[in-house]
Symmetry: C2
Subunit: 258 residues, 2 copies
């Protein structure tokens, strides 16, 4: 199933951006009258009929809409320090998108070797990953901020988790234990656990997971996070690279819901 992306869908008409138009018309040779599938990147899949096979700005008429297409039953924001090797970071974000992710927030820690991060390249990668894994919503990529700033700005009411390698003021528990607690607290989730319906399931609380750089968080960052309501957790005894730790946290949330 080939899926296109358009940020410009209104009044039953969809216009594809130039790159998507060229791919649709030049590469896949779609013609007027063909049915194509288009996501708006916000969660909806549109089934459309091509009305103008222009390779610069293809137009299509919307036939059907499917909201929450390929949606996951939780809201997960991963705040992860960029790795020295950017491929590893992009790999994590691509895999997390396949599984189900809402926001990637690149954060720069006291021990981060990489202090600069360009979000645009990652946005393109996550758009491709969303189309490939058949999801109507493309994860948002935030502009980088410092870990301290991120902690200060984190919302009060979210379930906030910090994965750190050292024991801080608060002893760490397994990320599973923390997620089990919210699962138990979450009526809709437990109903779903009986019905086994993924789509019916909703983790009502927004989940935020903070992952440090290769050199881990500074003690000050960890203490600040805990003082702001972040729960310090561990990801088990294995020594994981930053990107593996980040994906393990995503998997822990995803696997709670399948």
């Amino acid at each position: 199933m080939e899926v296109f992306y358009s940020p410009e869908i209104k009044n039953g008409v969809c216009v594809l951006p130039e790159e998507e138009s060229a791919h649709c018309v030049r590469v896949l040779r779609h013609r007027e009258g063909d049915e194509i599938f288009v996501i708006d990147g916000l969660g909806t899949l549109y089934t459309c009929r091509l009305t103008d096979a222009s390779p610069k700005a293809a137009c299509a008429q919307v036939l059907r809409e499917e909201p929450d297409w390929g949606a996951h039953p939780y809201f997960l924001e991963m705040a992860v320090c960029p790795t020295k090797n950017l491929d590893r970071y992009e790999w994590f974000a691509e895999k997390a998108t396949e599984l189900g992710l809402d926001v990637v927030a690149p954060v720069i820690g006291d021990h981060s070797e990489r202090k600069v991060f360009k979000s645009d390249r990652l946005r393109r990668i996550l758009l491709a990953a969303s189309k490939q894994s058949l999801k109507g919503a493309v994860p948002e990529v935030k502009e980088p901020v410092s870990v301290r700033q991120y902690i200060q700005d984190a919302p009060e009411d979210a379930l906030k988790i910090i994965c750190c390698c050292f024991e801080g003021e608060t002893p760490r528990t397994s990320i599973n234990d923390v997620l089990n607690v919210i699962s138990r607290d979450n009526v809709i989730l437990s109903e779903c656990e009986e019905s086994r319906s993924f789509a019916a399931l909703r983790m009502t609380k927004k989940i935020i997971v903070l992952i440090g750089p290769e050199g881990d968080f500074s003690r000050e960052e960890a203490a600040l996070a805990v003082s702001r309501g972040f729960i310090p957790v561990h990801l088990g005894p294995s020594r994981l690279r930053t990107e593996t730790a980040a994906l393990t946290a995503v998997q822990a949330v995803y696997l709670k819901c399948i």
Copy 2:
């Protein structure tokens, strides 16, 4: 912590292979009398004192042994069809090694586009990953066989799981449900779940997970697997690439034990 590898440790003496010797002596500039850490790739960490800083065949005297160094409390064999893009397969195997894995078995399915696989390159990658993630045991990489052959030869007494995208003769359950069942059946595991001790935990049953190629298994392969006692499972509603599906299965086992 820098870890070296030697397949040649006996009578309290350890000899490093040429590549490791050069890295130890030329790159890290270790000298006679230095303490170095060496794994045998079978699970034991040896603390040694360098007695001959030869860049071709460095020798060291064993001071201490630590068996089951960085060991995980389960035996997991992943039989995964090689991906078209080998980087993706190597990425999966590296990440799985960081988490905890015992055997990688490349298998060739009816729908595999890649029919040939060289195991040696992957062995080098997994050795590096084991050293980096501080594990004494390096996962074994088997020589490739066909999916059908692999199914025929799979041991009777293992917990055998096949992840397939279509509903076969037997309806699929979530991989979590299957792992929960063996967890409940496993006394030592449930004890551990109280004590929260990872090291104390042992999943007594060998776990084998079979993951198909980009084109999934053929109906015949899936039917053969089920007839040979493989339990068909799903990995949730997300459409996962082969390497993501494989890592998700590893995570499902790993996360059961943290």
